[in-house]
């Protein structure tokens, strides 16, 4: 008879074998979850010296551990508690932090429960090369598994689990080193290696000490480590808890406490509170706004107490005050650097400067009050205060160390001192940090992370991450720019490069007839195709052709690099490209989305070589009406790569009659008709200040010059056909995949956005702006003319553009059909298809189009709405960041150029006034595409109603001068190095109608 064994475990052991917990679902139900736990004796410990455990494939923990620490001469391993990862991740991630780490499963679970981003960093850390991290499944090893006691809090239970595991590891280590004497608790000189519990929880340490488990606080540990000075700077502020950092927070409370998260959520649900992103005001550091869906206008936050420690980008919860307390935004420029330069970083007053401590907040309170006390001239705005934070979006910020905050007594000493770091971005408050390297960091760009912002501290506290290099050096500026805009700029990893074709540079289109690549591809090698791009373009992703058809119509084709042939879904290269989202163009550097082999060679539609393409071919009537369109994968051989200028010359040269030139002319006539149609439909001709930076040579770029970009007919030619292709593709993929098509839209701006501009135009120029539709807006923009000043129209266009929303990618199934439209282009549907080398959205559109024409089946991920939404969210963000990074890069070079010019003499330029403040003017220098601020030290008469200020004349007894918005002024532009921030900053002084240098 067969012997039957019941494998099910008896229910008497339920307490040990089952882990029960409750979960509250999103719909408010409570469910009980039960997990079975099987304990084993063979969970490997990871010690190389261990003979008791089954040998792991690669023992991570070396024989003696780390021998470099003064307190542990016999060698040691560290076993960090959860709080170490929660608050000191930068320290652990530092390449200088070298001891082998035992990572407990309990700790990993706790970190995941507390903070998902930190959990992701932790898992990445465990895989980092050069770090010895062993993940020990302590909850599954029978000796280290524990059961929660009655009345034990989850936290205490986890602490106990961590202590138990540490104790077990030490006992286990002793087995591996039997030659050494058994350890006596309390005895310091231990000869064999130890596992040391690293924790900042004093209570946990106390119990551990009582139980004879070796333990140490992070600060103590780092002080004894090899690179103590550098490591100590990486300690987050929370780490100084032992050093009495807390006392200060309790003494003086500047900010209200946040409400607990559940209360916030309840308040939002009840409609009493509102959630939104916090936007700081770049002109006034004491003001911020939070756009919330429930109100038409963003909620205004006035004063530090109401902003309540919110930092740019945080998701905050605001409470809106009673309507009678609503205010209008301030009308003065309040500059933090100027106002607060006397603040002492050592705020707590270590050297008995207690009176200073009192005075500073008082004086500042006065300033704040003054800034707020102004009349409310314009309409009021909902006003409120921050009552809680849903999500902090803190990251590492590029900063300068404020030299004035350095203690003067020891300018060069390596003692620990508290200094201010001023972020490069004006939207951020300065950050207080403690460092020993302050003198060395002066004049450098440094990366600083915010750790916390206590209620008693006027500024957030942070710690130093690393130095980027001397300020204004090109490398440091470039890297800081990339960091500031979160552009991923690391070189491509091995896994990504592994996805490239094995032939590398030598890859060619195989001969026809070999199947494979040629499957369902049209042979368009004989067509006269050419590409037209800006000078110096290496990643040519589009090419064009046109030829007359026998029936009188014209065939026009747009050929786009077939990136989806090389980038397959679900490969490392694909996910890297999706994460990068877009190629970022800086003045002197390009950060590719795809490896250069693809971008500048295999996918680039270079002339005279065969390349794979995805073609859209139209039959158009001579009036540029579409007869039909077809899409096909193809093989092309471009006949020429022109620059815009070159193509223009070719087109205009009547002697040339070769087919290429004919094609360009044909395309040009069609493009003009297409454009006329688009304009008739109400497309906007928008303007943004675009300037071009001249680099002397690609190597040394120091002396540079700036000029405005020139627009030729051929620019418009390419643009029109790209628009046509994008629109045709958008229609097709939306038809085939109505739920998941990747499209691009530009929502019409709410008319309230234009109120201010309309008011200024009406009052200053007597012009009206009709914003009822894009067509009406285009028409009324055309009428905004000043016969004496051609640049005026451009200026109004720039200002109107700023009132609009930005275009975005979206998934067609996620929004309603009537919001698909592209406002600026006046097209009911639009997508990006034409630049797959540099934009990831285009890659998705390529895949969808390929599936729509039955070339390949659609990858399942592109059938999932949730997946597409997730991807386009990332791409949208990256796209925005890339634009800002590009602009910042241009600004930096404009600054350099001005500096260069300034050395040769004074730089004066004509400028338009675009904003008026009580104590200054915002001006726009169109020639340089530069916006600046003219500040007056003396008060002027400010007429908020008419957007004008009246300045006393520079000559004694002269007439007062009134300057208002849209007036043309002349400014002198200087680049001066701000003493406080080390920021090269553009300073503008009015030259005419009055010289404001005295004011």
């Amino acid at each position: 008879m067969p012997h039957i064994v019941i494998k099910k475990r008896p229910s008497e052991e339920a307490v040990i074998t089952q882990r029960k917990f409750f979960k509250k679902t999103a719909r408010g139900k409570v469910i009980k979850v039960l997990r079975e736990r099987y304990l084993r004796d063979d969970v490997p410990c990871g010690l190389a010296a261990c003979r008791a455990c089954p040998p792991p494939d690669d023992p991570v923990l070396s024989h003696y551990g780390d021998l470099g620490h003064a307190a542990f001469p016999g060698g040691h391993y560290v076993l960090p508690d959860t709080n170490v990862f929660l608050s000191q991740m930068d320290l652990i991630e530092s390449p200088l932090f070298t001891p082998p780490i035992v990572l407990l499963q309990t700790v990993v679970d706790e970190v995941r429960h507390r903070s998902l981003p930190l959990y992701n960093r932790l898992t990445a850390l465990a895989k980092t090369e050069g770090k010895a991290v062993w993940l020990f499944y302590n909850e599954y090893r029978s000796e280290t598994a524990i059961v929660r006691e009655e009345d034990e809090s989850p936290n205490d239970r986890n602490d106990r689990a961590i202590r138990t595991a540490t104790a077990w590891y030490n006992a286990h280590l002793a087995l591996a080193h039997p030659q050494s004497a058994p350890r006596i608790p309390g005895q310091n000189q231990v000869k064999h290696p130890q596992v040391v519990l690293l924790t900042d929880d004093a209570a946990n340490r106390e119990i551990a000490q009582r139980d004879g488990v070796p333990c140490v606080s992070v600060r103590k540990y780092v002080e004894g480590a090899k690179d103590a000075t550098s490591l100590l700077d990486l300690l987050a502020a929370a780490g100084s808890e032992d050093a009495g950092g807390q006392g200060q927070g309790q003494g003086r409370v500047l900010y209200d406490d946040y409400l607990p998260t559940p209360t916030l959520l309840a308040g939002i649900k009840a409609g009493a509170l509102h959630q939104g992103h916090f936007n700081a005001n770049q002109y006034n550091y004491l003001e911020g706004t939070v756009p919330v869906p429930a109100l038409a206008k963003p909620v205004l936050l006035v004063g530090r107490a109401n902003m309540n420690r919110a930092v740019q980008g945080d998701v905050v919860v605001v409470e809106v005050f009673d309507e009678r307390e609503w205010r209008a935004p301030g009308d003065a420029v309040v500059d933090m650097d100027a106002t607060l330069k006397n603040d002492d970083a050592d705020d707590s007053g270590e050297e008995g400067d207690g009176d200073d401590d009192e005075r500073v907040p008082l004086a500042e309170g006065e300033r704040e009050r003054k800034a707020l006390e102004k009349k409310a001239p314009a309409e009021k705005q909902p006003t409120g205060r921050v009552v809680g934070i849903i999500k902090r979006n803190w990251r590492a910020y590029v900063c300068h160390i404020a030299p004035t905050s350095l203690s003067s007594s020891a300018p060069s000493s390596l003692s620990l001192q508290t200094v201010f770091a001023t972020p490069v971005s004006r939207l951020l408050p300065r950050i207080r940090l403690r460092t020993r390297q302050a003198p060395a960091l002066l004049g450098q760009k440094v990366l600083v992370t915010i750790d916390r912002w206590a209620r008693g501290s006027r500024y957030p506290e942070g710690h130093f991450v690393r130095a980027l290099g001397r300020a204004e050096s090109r490398e440091a500026e470039q890297e800081s720019l990339l960091l500031e805009f979160e552009v991923p700029y690391r070189p491509f990893g091995r896994a990504v490069l592994g996805c490239l074709p094995v032939e590398g540079e030598g890859w060619v289109v195989p001969p026809k007839g070999e199947g494979g690549v040629w499957r369902e591809r049209e042979d368009l090698r004989e067509l006269d195709i050419c590409s037209i791009d800006p000078p110096g373009c290496q990643d040519i992703d589009d090419a064009l052709h046109a030829r007359p058809l026998p029936n009188g119509n014209i065939e026009a084709g747009v050929h786009i690099a077939d990136v989806s042939h090389f980038v397959h879904p679900d490969t490392p290269m694909d996910s890297e490209a999706a994460a990068r989202g877009t190629t970022v163009y800086l003045v002197d550097k390009r950060i590719d989305m795809l490896p250069a082999l693809l971008g500048t060679n295999l996918c680039s539609l270079r002339p005279h070589v065969e390349r794979l393409a995805f073609s859209a071919i139209w039959e158009l009537t001579p009036e540029a009406d579409i007869v039909n369109v077809r899409f096909t994968k193809s093989v092309i051989a471009s006949k020429a790569a022109f620059e815009y200028g070159e193509a223009q010359i070719r087109k205009d040269d009547p002697n040339l009659t070769d087919p290429l030139t004919q094609g360009i002319r044909l395309l040009n006539t069609l493009a003009q008709k297409l454009k006329a149609k688009r304009m008739a439909a109400g497309a906007l001709n928008l303007a943004s200040p675009e300037v071009k930076i001249h680099l002397d040579s690609s190597e040394s770029s120091d002396p540079v010059d700036v000029e405005q970009k020139e627009l030729r007919e051929t620019n418009s030619l390419v643009e029109e056909f790209m628009l046509l292709a994008n629109i045709s593709v958008a229609r097709r993929i939306q038809e085939s995949f109505p739920q998941t098509a990747v499209l691009r839209r530009h929502l019409p701006p709410p008319s309230t956005n234009f109120e201010k501009l309309q008011d200024i135009l009406r009052k200053r120029r007597g012009l009206t702006l009709d914003v009822s539709s894009s067509g009406a807006l285009a028409d009324s923009l055309d009428k905004c003319l000043d016969p004496d000043e051609p640049a005026f129209n451009t200026l109004v266009r720039i200002m109107a553009t700023r009132c609009m929303l930005s275009a975005e990618y979206f998934c067609s199934g996620s929004v309603s059909r009537d919001t698909f439209g592209h406002y600026g282009l006046a097209s009911p549907i639009y997508t990006h298809f034409t630049s797959p080398i540099r934009r990831y959205a285009d890659v998705l559109a390529h895949r969808q189009l390929a599936a729509a024409i039955g070339y390949t089946p659609l990858h399942p991920s592109l059938h999932s709405k949730a997946h597409v939404e997730r991807v386009v969210d990332v791409v949208n963000r990256r796209h925005r960041m890339a634009q800002m990074a590009g602009r910042a890069s241009v600004e930096f070079y404009v600054g350099l150029a001005l500096k260069g010019r300034g050395e040769k003499g004074e730089v004066t330029e004509e400028a338009f006034v675009i904003r008026a403040f009580r104590n200054g003017l915002g001006v726009f220098v169109s020639k340089l595409g530069l916006e600046g601020l003219v500040m007056f030290k003396r008060d002027t008469q400010f007429d908020a109603e008419n957007y004008a200020i009246t300045i006393p004349s520079s000559d004694a007894g002269g007439k007062d001068v009134t300057i208002s918005v849209f007036d043309k002024v002349t400014v002198r532009i200087e680049v001066e190095k701000d003493k406080n921030t080390q920021r090269g900053r553009v300073k503008m002084v009015l030259v005419s109608p009055v010289d404001s240098s005295e004011l």
Partner: protein
């Protein structure tokens, strides 16, 4: 309910009426068969118990067997049947193998009958636990008590009530904390003194001594400790026990087997609860069967019933406490000394 011939019935009746009374298994009239009780049999339930009466020790077969389980569910008040402060809903279902001779229609009737007895007794407002509320006026726990009869070898009502009592005793209600948004308005416009907090955490809100009115709008709740099973049901000592008196003219006996049940003309179910501070309370009684009796007889039977119920109650109480210790403390000790 076993199918017995008249001869068999009269044989059983006459043996019971003989002096001394004789029962087939040799028990005295007020003796129970062996009762086996185990709590925590359904790990995913909030409380559960299995009770069997008269199971054969050697092979574990035979006897009346009942499993009871309690499941708590969050219920919105105002939609459907939700009641402020929570409510109890009981149901009894019978395995068809317990009553193989019944048609499915008859089985439904039986289940329905048992359900209504159980529900009307336990669902009575005097017994409602005080901790089933979550958010006053918004949300409350719905306590579902589900009982399955796996086998019936007589005296199923007593067993059902015992199982129900054990499962309810075992029930733990997850601790919740109501989250509310409290806007305190002052007459002055001072924005500083508007404050919101979670209830129970506002000792340090000394600022707003002046508040004149307070609006409480708890809209949601949270689970402060998701590992914790929670607290026991309020007033769990009061859950009633049932004792069935099988009546033959001139005598009564307890814990009848199936054959004995078929042989008696009348049965009296009495449900008593014994609150720790108040006098014993007769929750329900029910007289069933073709026979007749008079009120004086009933009154004396009630007195006896209370006495028997008290015995069952105290036996159950001590066993339930044992079970608690077995499942928690002893299991932990065993784990530590492994």
């Amino acid at each position: 309910m076993a199918l017995l011939s008249k001869a068999e019935k009269s044989y059983i009746q006459s043996s019971l009426l003989s002096d001394p009374p004789l029962r087939a298994d040799g028990r005295a009239l007020t003796d129970f068969r062996t009762i086996a009780l185990e709590t925590g049999v359904a790990p995913l339930a909030n409380g559960s118990a299995r009770v069997s009466i008269g199971r054969n020790a050697p092979d574990g077969g035979g006897g009346t067997e009942v499993v009871a389980a309690v499941k708590l569910e969050v219920e919105a008040i105002g939609e459907g049947e939700g009641v402020d402060g929570g409510r109890i809903s009981c149901s009894v279902s019978c395995s068809p193998t317990a009553y193989p001779h019944l048609s499915s229609g008859a089985l439904d009737d039986l289940q329905h009958d048992m359900t209504s007895v159980l529900h009307s007794t336990l669902g009575h407002s005097s017994l409602r636990p005080n901790n089933l509320g979550i958010l006053p006026g918004k949300k409350a726990w719905l306590l579902n008590l589900d009982i399955v009869v796996f086998a019936d070898a007589g005296n199923v009502y007593d067993t059902i009530f015992m199982a129900a009592r054990a499962a309810l005793w075992d029930t733990k209600v997850p601790r919740t904390r109501s989250v509310e948004y409290r806007a305190k308005k002052l007459d002055s416009i001072d924005s500083e003194s508007k404050a919101m907090d979670v209830d129970g955490a506002n000792q340090d809100q000394g600022k707003s001594v002046l508040d004149t009115r307070e609006t409480t709008k708890a809209t949601d709740f949270e689970l402060p400790d998701y590992w914790d099973e929670g607290e026991v049901l309020g007033g769990r000592e009061a859950w009633p026990v049932c004792v069935t008196l099988n009546l033959l003219p001139s005598l009564h006996f307890l814990d009848a087997s199936l054959q004995e049940e078929s042989s008696v003309p009348l049965r009296l179910h009495t449900m008593f609860s014994f609150p720790p501070t108040a006098a014993p309370c007769l929750q329900t009684f029910r007289l069933i069967g073709p026979g007749v009796t008079n009120s004086t007889h009933i009154q004396s039977l009630m007195k006896d019933g209370e006495k028997y119920a008290r015995n069952i109650w105290s036996a159950l109480e001590s066993k339930l406490k044992d079970e608690d210790i077995r499942r928690n403390q002893k299991a932990r000790e065993k784990f530590i000394c492994r």
